[in-house]
Symmetry: C2
Subunit: 251 residues, 2 copies
């Protein structure tokens, strides 16, 4: 988590990596930009709203093909929980989860591209370029598990009737070719689509509480973190062949 504090960029790292244009996002030089609505992005505080909302300006195309690592995370058994739990506690659980996950993703230069209730999707290697993006995503996944486990445990103590299962998070990670860009005329924030994105989402849906499922493609690029992990074959909805993934448990 310290690395977030360490790496408070003065210029937008996305605009720099993608266009070699220095856009100030902190300090006095950022003030005139702020007057034009150019501020830090909600996807990652080290990139700016130009990266976030002006994909066509940044890449001169509506979308591009790129290699990236995609991470999905969500709270296991949230549907069951949401039926039994007080909405105020439920809201707090979601907030804590989303905030801890974002910190973990940002600490490794990823962006929180989508948040949907008790889940999120993060992209590593766009717009901030990361040499070892699979490595970064797996490290973020480990941080997510560590920091959510302790935070959720303390929230659980405040629940009147805790369910039999402890609160936990499932994570899926996959590396591959994705399409990045704008896929809607009326929304200008970019996203990633394609089979690699779906595979990461499907892996996440198979991860038990505390588990991180890393596709063999991603694991091969994060050998140190994945050392000694078990490989399992998964049958995933909508994917013809069984998918091999390595299972990482939170420490």
């Amino acid at each position: 988590m310290e690395s977030t504090a360490r790496s408070r960029a003065r210029i937008c790292r996305g605009c720099w990596d993608q266009m070699h244009v220095p856009i100030p996002i902190r300090g006095p030089l950022a003030l005139p930009f702020r007057a034009f609505g150019i501020t830090r992005s909600k996807m990652n505080p080290n990139i700016c709203t130009i990266c976030e909302r002006s994909f066509r300006y940044v890449k001169k195309q509506r979308h591009i093909s790129a290699t990236a690592t995609i991470l999905f995370a969500d709270i296991r058994g949230f549907t069951v929980l949401s039926e039994r739990m007080d909405p105020v506690i439920l809201s707090e659980i979601v907030s804590v989860f989303q905030d801890r996950c974002a910190q973990a993703v940002w600490a490794h230069d990823g962006i929180v591209n989508k948040q949907m209730g008790d889940g999120l999707m993060a992209i590593f290697n766009f717009p901030i370029k990361i040499k070892h993006h699979a490595d970064a995503a797996v490290a973020a996944a480990l941080d997510i598990q560590r920091s959510c486990t302790s935070a959720l445990k303390s929230l659980e103590l405040r629940v009147d009737k805790p369910s039999d299962d402890a609160l936990g998070v499932g994570v899926g990670v996959h590396t591959g070719q994705v399409e990045i860009g704008e896929f809607s005329t009326f929304r200008s924030d970019f996203t990633a689509i394609g089979s690699a994105v779906n595979l990461a989402a499907r892996l996440e849906s198979q991860a038990a509480a505390g588990e991180i499922l890393v596709s063999v493609e991603a694991a091969a690029q994060a050998p140190e973190l994945m050392a000694g992990t078990q490989t399992r074959a998964f049958r995933l909805k909508g994917i013809e062949h069984p998918v091999l993934a390595q299972v990482l448990f939170k420490s």
Copy 2:
């Protein structure tokens, strides 16, 4: 679709319904507001960015409990498609789907709260108040099916190797108590969470191409549109009891 054109509001309908404050969003009076970054929301062009991003200012709370109708839609078999299809065509399919769905949701005063790849979540009855919100959502679902079917059919003709299954959309609709507000410290756009949201999402996941699954709770409030439809029981992931829903096929 005409109703979108008909109802180009001059003042933000969300701010009016929630606070009785007139915020100009079209015409010359909107210009000074635009200078302060207050523009039309991407969730619905008849509401403004105050509704979208300043929930705490609008409602004086971080979140509220409200009755609303939630609609989920996505492209059936998209994972299978995305494995076989050219990324450019795939991108076009997603864009067409997202745009047609948004038009349908807006035509009935709903908001497109989340877009995630080939899926979306819409809310009816917040921030624009709708007397018959279940009715509005079912009407939007019918519009989605009508307009996506024709649009996707024409795209399919351009695919080299069409899969056996025709492209189609599945929709789920449920009415209930939800928590609406901000559930993340670093993102200020509001969303809805709670068991009613999950139930709508689970129903959508069970809808076949061309189908709209409407929970009996929502159907009871849209009797005209749901007349003569069949009721089926569904076992949904994470939900203990079987859920009764009525099945509406696209015309």
